[in-house]
Chain length 400, copies 2
């Protein structure tokens, strides 16, 4: 049995917030309190920015009641950041970590955050500094490699599916075409989850467009026209990341901002929805066309949480700390699904570089061959992660 | 005691859907089933359009279980319409009502719907057709005269306040300026309800702009800059209906569509949010600026319901039917609040013309004199209508 590394722990959160990222944080804090090897439990404010600026708080000073309340609160309680550390940043980070005798470093986030953890892990090795460096998965985009799905996705998917069920009801009451724009740059999982809103044959969403397939405006208009002719209404869901055959984002002409990871900023703007709505009005002759961009609501709305997602988010935090203390190498905790009819997961520690930087896409068997819908395989995949949606009633509607 | 009018009842829904409009419908149906004067209980599909086209369903054929499920479902279960009947329409409507021996007509909706009910009531009198014609209040905008507040407002306000609490947390995690655009053409109640999201001194929304006050872009930019300089973040909430000194809508340059009541269509577009976000970026030098337009989510999201709103929505449906059977004149059921510290309401039957057509605005004592906030009087007014919001946790955050 290896000697335990004894010292302080530092944890931080990075990237876009989610409804359950604080459960992973609180899971890690609670487990750290049970581990004798871990002395101080520190939280850096706003990710590695907080390390660099030494804005660090003492998480042993927080009461059980506070931890419980924070766990149930969306968004990143330590603050977040979108920053990829430079080599100079890393040197500064180590100065702080060494000064504070940090021997356990945990970074909660998506693939950009795994990349940051990987860079820090490599720099620690180069410097001969003994420290366990772990990534804890989080992303509503569900786009981490090695993972069956990621904490944050189930709750965001629940929000999206619930919202689309409501929009479909609204669009039945006042019929027209409604376009919803959903988060997800390169991976369509969250957009696809809107399909869980369907209960009857003619329920929306009637059309779903994913970033994994080239978006053709003429085919899109034709699809909308066909559904509208048939039902006299049409609910469309598109990913913010839809792009044309050449890979050019449909919305890219409208915005210019990029973050330090080189990602184009797509949220917080109604441009794509308005563009598509205007095209439909102009080219199909349908007069009542509306577009809504879900924006930050889908990742930060308090109270809409999938029970499965909540539990798994807590688990990955707990397991990351347990594993870090026992292990002599660094890694990321991945959620794997057991084969079989009953939903069951297990957790595996994978290499940071296996998760870092790259994006997992929707597999082909999740996307209908017409490129405007998902398959039953996707529904079967997503349903247990999202859990129960509100029950909705409808009249039999017997004509007099 | 007057002779009861015996005959059939027809009920319909009109205008924008809400989370609780079906509770008013189901309340009316259940009460009608208890009234011996009422024979057939009919529902017209899509408001008066369904009457004109004789698309009418038999609501006695619906089971108790269906009624219960429909009551808990947002949007208008009978379908809705935005249509003001012409004189010719009214003649056609009477042909149908007479043919079907309809003696009780109920129209659930906002002030446009009250106006429609008033026109039909007057035409019935002119034609000497004995029929009770009642308006049942509904509007998330909370802008009906004679009412302390309206069914639908409390639940939409709960959605808005919950969403803004989440957005404020998101904007703490990744600080910047966030602008949310909320429904409400001429009345700012729903936008104002975002203030219920505040718990601590520095919680957002930090700035609230209402249609009741002229919107000045320079004053707005100055307000944003001041908050941002102070807190390094700023959450702004604006009504979709904000207009300049001359009454010109800030968003009006971007959209042209109007409905048959002459209202400009403001929803389903991100134009106003994007316009304000771009102005902030261009004029203040703040780089991280996002805008979200809540759109249809705020009126149709399943499961976010204020308990008080749910009960009152059911009550106005029940009381409308009770009153119609007893009364020898037409009217609208208004919610009045009893004076005193404890929240208590009563219902009053008021004349249709007292509610029809015109809009109730936020009273002056609800708006802060700086024109960028609400007062404690508004918070005291709105809190009991909206009810409990999700409890949120925050770290003490003791620096090491």
């Amino acid at each position: 049995m290896k000697d335990l590394i004894k010292g302080n722990m530092l944890i931080a959160q990075s990237g876009g917030p989610s409804a359950v990222i604080n459960r992973s944080l609180v899971g890690a804090i609670m487990e750290a309190r049970r581990q004798k090897a871990i002395k101080g439990i520190y939280g850096a404010l706003h990710g590695i920015k907080g390390v660099l600026e030494e804005k660090i708080i003492d998480l042993r000073k927080e009461s059980q009641a506070t931890l419980k309340a924070v766990a149930a609160t969306p968004s990143s309680a330590l603050g977040s950041v979108r920053k990829k550390p430079s080599h100079e940043d890393c040197i500064e980070i180590f100065k702080v970590l060494q000064k504070r005798d940090v021997r356990y470093f945990f970074y909660i986030g998506g693939n950009d955050s795994a990349e940051t953890a990987y860079i820090i892990s490599q720099e620690a090795q180069k410097a001969g500094y003994e420290m366990r460096c772990f990534h804890i998965p989080k992303t509503i985009d569900n786009d981490l490699r090695e993972n069956d799905h990621t904490p944050g996705f189930g709750s965001a998917a629940k929000f999206v599916a619930t919202a689309i069920a409501g929009i479909d009801l609204d669009n039945r009451a006042l019929p027209g075409v409604h376009v919803s724009v959903i988060m997800g740059r390169h991976a369509g999982f969250l957009t696809a989850a809107s399909a869980l809103a369907r209960h009857s044959q003619d329920d929306g969403p009637h059309l779903i467009y994913l970033p994994e397939r080239p978006f053709n405006i003429d085919a899109f208009l034709n699809d909308v026209k066909n559904v509208y002719e048939n039902l006299k209404r049409c609910v469309v869901v598109v990913s913010e990341g839809i792009a044309d055959m050449d890979g050019t984002l449909i919305v890219s002409k409208f915005i210019k901002e990029t973050d330090s990871h080189g990602n184009v900023q797509l949220s917080g703007t109604g441009a794509l929805g308005d563009l598509l709505a205007n095209e439909i009005k102009a080219k199909t002759g349908i007069s009542r066309v509306r577009a809504d961009t879900f924006g930050y609501l889908q990742r930060s709305f308090p109270g809409i949480v999938s029970a499965v997602d909540a539990k798994e988010a807590m688990d990955v935090g707990i397991i990351a700390v347990k594993t870090a203390v026992k292990s002599d190498s660094d890694g990321s905790i991945a959620i794997k699904r057991k084969p079989g009819k009953t939903y069951k997961v297990y957790y595996e520690c994978v290499g940071l570089q296996q998760v870092a930087g790259a994006t997992r896409h929707m597999p082909d068997n999740f996307i209908a061959k017409e490129n405007n819908n998902v398959t039953m395989a996707f529904i079967d995949y997503a349903k247990p992660i999202v859990g129960e949606l509100p029950k909705l009633g409808r009249f039999k509607a017997v004509r007099i």
